[in-house]
Structures are given as C-alpha cells and as structure tokens.
Amino acid sequence: MDYYLSQAINGICQGSIYALMAIGYSVVVGVVGLVTFTHGEVIMLGAFASFYTFQLVGNNLIIGVIASFLASAFIGVFVFKICYERFFNAPRHISLICTIGTSMLLRNLAQIIFGPNNKPLLEVVPNRFFGQGVVGLTLVQIIVIATVISLSFLLFLFFNRTRWGIMLRAVSQDKTAAAMMGINVRLTSLLGNSIGCGLGGVAGMLLAIYYQTLVATMGGSAGMKAFSSAVLGGLTNIPSAAAGGLCLGIVENLGITISSASFRDIFAFIFLLLVLIVKPEGFAKKTGVRP
C-alpha cells in the first residue's frame, strides 16, 4: 500500500513539474493565439539564468526567480519579434516553422555559449524530507506543488476577473476587433507573450533545482511535455492546463509502476489520445463555437 501511495506521490510531483511548464505555455498560446515550439528553450534559458545568478549572488531563491523570469521574458520579446509579430495575419504553420527554427537557434547557441555538458545545481533548497519512510515529500517538491496551485489560481483570477485579462484574451481571438476597442494589439500580445515566457523561465529554474542539474538540450523534452499538458487542458485554459500536466504525470508514473520506465511516453501519448477522442479539445469546456 505504501508503495502505491509513494508512486502516486511521485506522479503528483512529476505532474506538478509538467503543470508548471504548461502554465507558461498556456499563457503564451492564450495571448498570442499561435502555438509555439520554443517554450522548451525558454524554460532552459530560465534555468541557466538562475544558475548563473546563483553562482554570482549565492543561493537566493527570490533573486533566482526574478532573474529567470526577466531573462526568459526578454527572450520572449525576441521570440515575439521573430516568430509572431510579422505573421499575425498569415496562416499559422508559418509561425510554427519559425518557432521550430527559433528553438533550434536558441538551443544551439546555448550549447555553444554555455557548453554542451551537464551542470550541477545542488543545495539551492535544502534536502529536507517531510513524511515517513517511503511516503513523503521533500521541500523542493512542496515548493513546486505550492507554486503550481497558487499560480494557476492567481492567473485564473487575472485572466477571467480583470479587465487586463480580458484584454489579453481578446487580443488572441480577434486582432482587428481588439484594435477597434482601442487595444494596442502589438504591445499587449508582446507583453502577454513575455509574461508567459517569464513563467516558463521560473518553471525552468524550479525544474533545474528539482533535478539538480541543467543542460542546454533539456528544452526538447520539457517543451514537449509542456505542449502535451497544455493540449490536454485545451491549450488556453490555465487551470485545465495545470490539471492536464498533473494527470499526465500521474498516468506516466502509474504506467511505469505496472511496466517499465521505457514506456513512459507511450503511456503519456496513449492517455492523450484517449482524452482527445472523448473530448476533441481537451479538458476545458469549449465556448463560443458552433458550425
């Protein structure tokens, strides 16, 4: 029994990491209205920003958060200029290819600049263990889970209860109409994209702290998990995306429990497929569509 409980906890912890990455992803898609393949690299750069910050000023979590947020938000501006701004009125596959290109660009530049090897990120958060025997959580895990819950709650309020949030969502749905309402479309979506990327950066930092290591190529699988989780959540709905990440983590770990870790992604994708067959647009309730 303890064993299954501990596996469930493992699933929840990993799911929270996915959720964290998916939140930023959802913000980006929800504001820009275009799908991105650069989010993994944004996450990776956030991790590196915090890594160098910790080296410079010591292991200060708050400063790390600020640094990774700012660095990734800045990258967000870059991504916006390259991949989105020009292509708002173009079919979406064009900006999609641009994001694939940008991801390749950032990953390889990072590899050249930061070096291709793994870097350690140890003891930023003390390895304290709460619980008994196999059933329990470490401090990092608690921090991650708390961040996910509070972020999805706050962002949900922000996007659904404030005029700013409505503005950001409006921009992604109809840029012409948004302009007619007096919304500065470029600036707003730039800002929204940067916020989403900044959140991705923070996720990157926590990811690196959680696994105690970072490397320039970590973005690939991170981005894919963020993407899958966000799709599960209907892409633009933040709490649903977080739930999507959580489910994915739990399903994967359950799958590993009954078979082998090599099958992790098989379980993930089959679960995704099953959900999409039943609900073609993910968990989120879809609004505003009719034939």
């Binding site: 290819i97 109409a177 034939p291």
Partner: protein
C-alpha cells in the same frame, strides 16, 4: 521566381509539356552515367528519398488541410517492415516494398480513424504522439526490431541478377519511385478525389453540406500520405543496410515538415524544391561545424520572413488566414 510568360506558354501546350517531361526524365536517368563520386550520388539519392517523404506529407498537410507533424513514424514503419521481411522471411525487395507501403497505410488508418474529429493542433499532437509511439515500439520490441541494437545487414535488392547496392545503382530505384509518386499524385489531385480533399481544406462544414464524406476522404488522404511514406521507408532500409529507431525521431518529422513549408505547401513542385534546398543546406553548411545548426536555423527563419508562402508560388488558399482562434462565425458577414 516568376517565370517569363513565353516560357510558361510553352508549358501550356500539352504536346510540349509531354516532350519536355520526357526530356527531363531522360536527363535525370543519365546522371549516374556521369560517373559522379558516390558522395554526390548519395546526396542525390537522399534528395529523391525526401522528395517522396515531403511530397506525401504535402498531400496530407497541403491538400486536405490536416496537420501531420509526425510523418517520420510512417517512414519508420515502412523501413522496419521491409527490413524485417527481407531479413527474417528472406522476402525479395520487390514484394517487401509494396507491403511496407500497405502496412504504413494500415497504421495510417489506425491513427486517422479515432482522430478524424480532431482539428489543427490537436490533430498535430496526436500524429506527433503516434510517431513517438511507433519509435518506442521499435525500440522496445527486441525480438522483432532488434530493439536498441537496430537491424543490420539488410540485403540489397536484386532485379534480373542485377544488384542494387551502391548509390549509383540505387539512384534508379529512388528515381522511379519518385516519378511514380509524382505522376500518381498529380492525377489524383486533379481528380474528383483531389477536389474533395481541397474542399475539406477550405471549409469542412461547407464540404459536408455538399455531400463530401469528409471522414472517409480525410482517412483516405491520410492513408495515401502514409502509404508513400511507407514506400519511402521500404526503399530506404535496403539502401542504408542498417536501421535503428533513432533515425525516425520527431526531429526527422520536423525536418520533413520544414521541407514542405519551405518549398511551398499545397503545390506539387513545392516539396521537391524544399527537399533540394534543405538537403543542400545540410551538406553545404557542414564545414562550419558547431555553428551549422545556428546558421541553418537562421536560414529557415529568413526564408519564412522573405517568402512565407514557400519558394514555389502557392495557391492563395494555403495562405488564407487560418488562425488558431478559428473565428468562423465572424468572417465577412
């Protein structure tokens, strides 16, 4: 890229078109007689291979407007099928090849059936997942696929005692296959079936209201694309003689996708141009070693900036605004 009217007029005459086509094919067939180095022949073979891969992806993404980004999976199915058939059952290549295509087609159907209701990015992620699942199965099914060790020693095709082993010889197999692909696809695109695919791309609701069985045609479209990816894979493994699951990764899928889009989605010539350009870039940039992918990425982005419609002019509809927010109801009135 604009063709002078006098030349394009030449192409309009049917007789002229046919004779130019025959001339072109003859020239292509003569290339191996130039005694090019096997390296150049290797690059040519690769370009021809990708012509089929990009072309078949284009049938799916460019003509029916579905969004497949996991084409590498079908490629892998074909490659493993022909490898396994020829290694374990000693089946001749010429029988194994069509079976590779058919199997990829069946898998295409299995992927397509439950996902026909999905659109856009939701379909994309399912194809991506399917591609990964296929790769992971190849990686884990030790007894059949050799697991992580891959399959080696795949025998070269033999026809009337002639062995197609070196790239100079294998070139002809790839050439014939890509020509067959091109002409078949051309005819189908111009037919009632092609029209139905295009109508689905343009407006699925309207197509249904006109009696187009969108589910059937989308499935058929997916299967057709998968079939040719399988054929490409089936021809690939005896050429390469060794295959392993990491050859059919997601990056390979993205690679094929970028050929289609760089060349120009929704045109027959686009994927050909895309395959040439991308493979050429890969080779051309190799000397700058660690900066290679940086420059490659910049070039891809630059191409999207300068010619978002792809290098070959695209039918306008592919450029139609089809944004994520799908605001069908708020079109012009």
């Amino acid at each position: 890229m604009t063709i002078p009217p006098s030349i394009s007029a030449l192409f309009q005459k049917k007789g002229m078109r046919i004779s130019l086509g025959i001339l072109g094919i003859a020239l292509l067939a003569l290339i191996p007689q130039l005694n090019l180095k096997s390296y150049y022949m290797g690059v040519l073979c690769r370009i021809l291979l990708y012509t089929i891969l990009a072309g078949s992806l284009n049938v799916i993404n460019g003509y029916s407007g579905q969004f497949n980004i996991g084409h590498a999976g079908f490629f892998g199915i074909g490659a493993y099928t022909s490898a396994i058939l020829s290694l374990q059952l000693k089946m001749p290549f010429w029988i194994a090849l069509p079976i590779s295509g058919l199997l990829a087609m069946i898998v295409g159907l299995i992927v397509a059936l439950p996902t026909l209701r999905l659109k856009g990015i939701y379909l994309a992620i399912v194809t991506l997942g399917a591609s990964e699942i296929i790769r992971l199965i190849a990686l884990n099914w030790m007894s059949l696929t050799g697991g992580p060790n891959g399959l080696r020693g795949i025998p070269a095709p033999v026809l009337f005692g002639l062995k197609f082993s070196r790239s100079q010889q294998y070139y002809y197999i790839f050439l014939v296959l890509s020509l067959v692909f091109y002409f078949m696809t051309r005819r189908i695109i111009q037919s009632r079936i092609g029209r139905a695919w295009i109508s689905i791309r343009e407006d699925e609701t309207a197509a249904r209201s006109l009696g187009v069985e969108t589910m059937r045609f989308k499935a058929a479209n997916f299967m057709y694309g998968a079939f040719w990816a399988g054929i490409a894979g089936g021809a690939f493994s005896p050429y390469f003689k060794f295959i392993s699951s990491d050859m059919f990764s997601l990056d390979e899928g993205f690679n094929i996708l970028s050929m289609v889009i760089i060349g120009g989605q929704g045109t027959l010539a686009g994927p050909i141009v895309g395959a040439i350009i991308v493979n050429f870039l890969t080779e051309f940039l190799r000397p700058i070693s660690q900066y290679r992918l940086v420059v490659y990425a910049i070039l891809i982005i630059a191409m999207m900036w300068l010619r978002p419609q792809g290098l070959v002019g695209v039918s306008k509809s592919v450029l139609a605004e089809r944004r994520f927010g799908r605001s069908r109801r708020v079109h012009r009135r």
